[in-house]
Amino acid sequence: MTIDLQALVQPDRVHKRVYTDPAIFELEMDRVFGQAWLYVGHESQVPNVGDYFTTRLGREPVVMVRHTDGAVNVLYNRCPHKGAKIVPDGSGSAGKFLRCLYHGWTFKCDGSLLSVPLRSGYEDTALDLKAQQHSVRKVARVASHRGFVFASLAEEGPELVEFLGGVATSLDNFCDRAPDGEVEVAGGVQRVIQRNNWKIFFENLHDTIHAVATHESSWRAAKEEFESMPAGTPKPFEVVIVDGNGEPLEFWEKLELKGYDHGHGFMEGIFVPPTDPVSLAYVAALQAKQGEARADQILRVNRHNTIVYPSCSPHTSFQQIRVIRPLSVDRTLVEIFSFRLKGAPEATFQRTLKYTNIVNSPSSNVMPDDLEAYNRVQEGLASDGGDWVSMHRGMGREQPLPGGRSSNGNSEMPPRNMFAAWASYMGVQTGAAE
């Protein structure tokens, strides 16, 4: 049965099937995740030759590995001999070469075949060991932006920098915030399982108006906690990052949302630059290395979640990247990586981890109500109570930007923008991207 995708996406609404139909999920794996540049990881995760890190790009298990020439390769984690995944899931060091556990075929860290046991057994057979197909297959394209490694499973398509468009500046600012201009992954990876379609999570990233409703339990708890403290107590960081969700809708409306081609975008920062000792020491370190004028320029770029569609969401001011890996039509894995700003005081990284623990950990007090909402959406969409999901708010009021569009903070421009990209990958049109 063919699916009439064109009938499912309109400029201001989408049909529920795009969230619930397993056949559409499979098409997304082919067409969205099979074409887009997908975030793989950061070069600092594989500092030495033979270091590897495994992940999934769409349906494909891949391994990012550092080769002897210093290059970071992204290979399908599949032995060309019998098909075994060559390295175990996770990260580690493979030594100087990759060796399959099953029959001991070995490969260089760029995937090329090094040796096989019983080479003589292949003489006079149709199997030519020099042929490319007996090396570990590389993913079609790999490119890096400031150390952030992306891969595309498609041979053709825009270059990475063209793909990133307006959100390349978020990745730049992510690094520029380091006094030494570089970042590194540190402090472990948290992993959260969501019982919802991956697109529901992406849409929530720039859904400002859910905050005051969905997060009432956590922002009220934070406010009550603060009110119970002695008068004059400075508001602790732990409270600031939780009670902010209680801001009224007028607060969010004033924030600018930007949407760029290919579904990307970012939200202006919601936290005012803090003036506590940890933040001030960090600013001083940045100024000492970069000069006051440059430091000011860097810190002026104050953003909340950035969306790099369809694979990750960097948070530039708290140094996190959330990586989104769809598992099935109604199940999504989110992996949270924390980054250390090189040259910043140790307390800066400890604050990053505090944000990680409080906001992004499976034990977050904020997130369970999000997960509950996503899951109720997923379950509600399966019902016959209605067919369409609305994205009408603020329709037609976007302002054009080079390579994109902007809107006020309460607009549903971001999901419209994401679905314009989605439709384009899927081979249809919404007409939403003006």
Binding site: A221, E238, V239, S363, E372
Partner: protein
Amino acid sequence: MNFNDWQEQQDITKFLFNEARLLDEHRWDEWLRLFTPDGLYWVPLVHGQTDHLNHASLFCEDALLRSMRARRLEQARAYSQQPPTRTVHVLGNISLESRTEAGCVVRSTFHLLEWRKTEQRAFGGSVLHTLRREVAEWRIEMKRVELVNCDAPHEALQVFM
């Protein structure tokens, strides 16, 4: 290391059983009061984790964060607590790990069943309680919960373990 005598073993065992019961009965305020003011509730993210400041955790909560969690669980609009999480702890293998100046470190193992909405989850592992003797009662300086599957992907972890 051995307990001094049956009485000490009994005291500590009763303390741990009571602590688990407070959690299972959602008596959050009473549970919070078991901690010293600078006490830490910690569930490491990886096996053998030694640092809670420079490495992410599953839970890493001082008095402020413990109190915020307890307050949230009791909010009328805690949607993810509709229905609330139900738990039962089963403790065992209680042993004295070491003695400190003001108290001791007790190791136990646990099995925790958690039920909410659609699925019963099972957690298990060991717990290190760093206890301080304060006049007639024990207080918790640190509760470190070492989950067997700490490094697995998890759905939301809402209640204290």
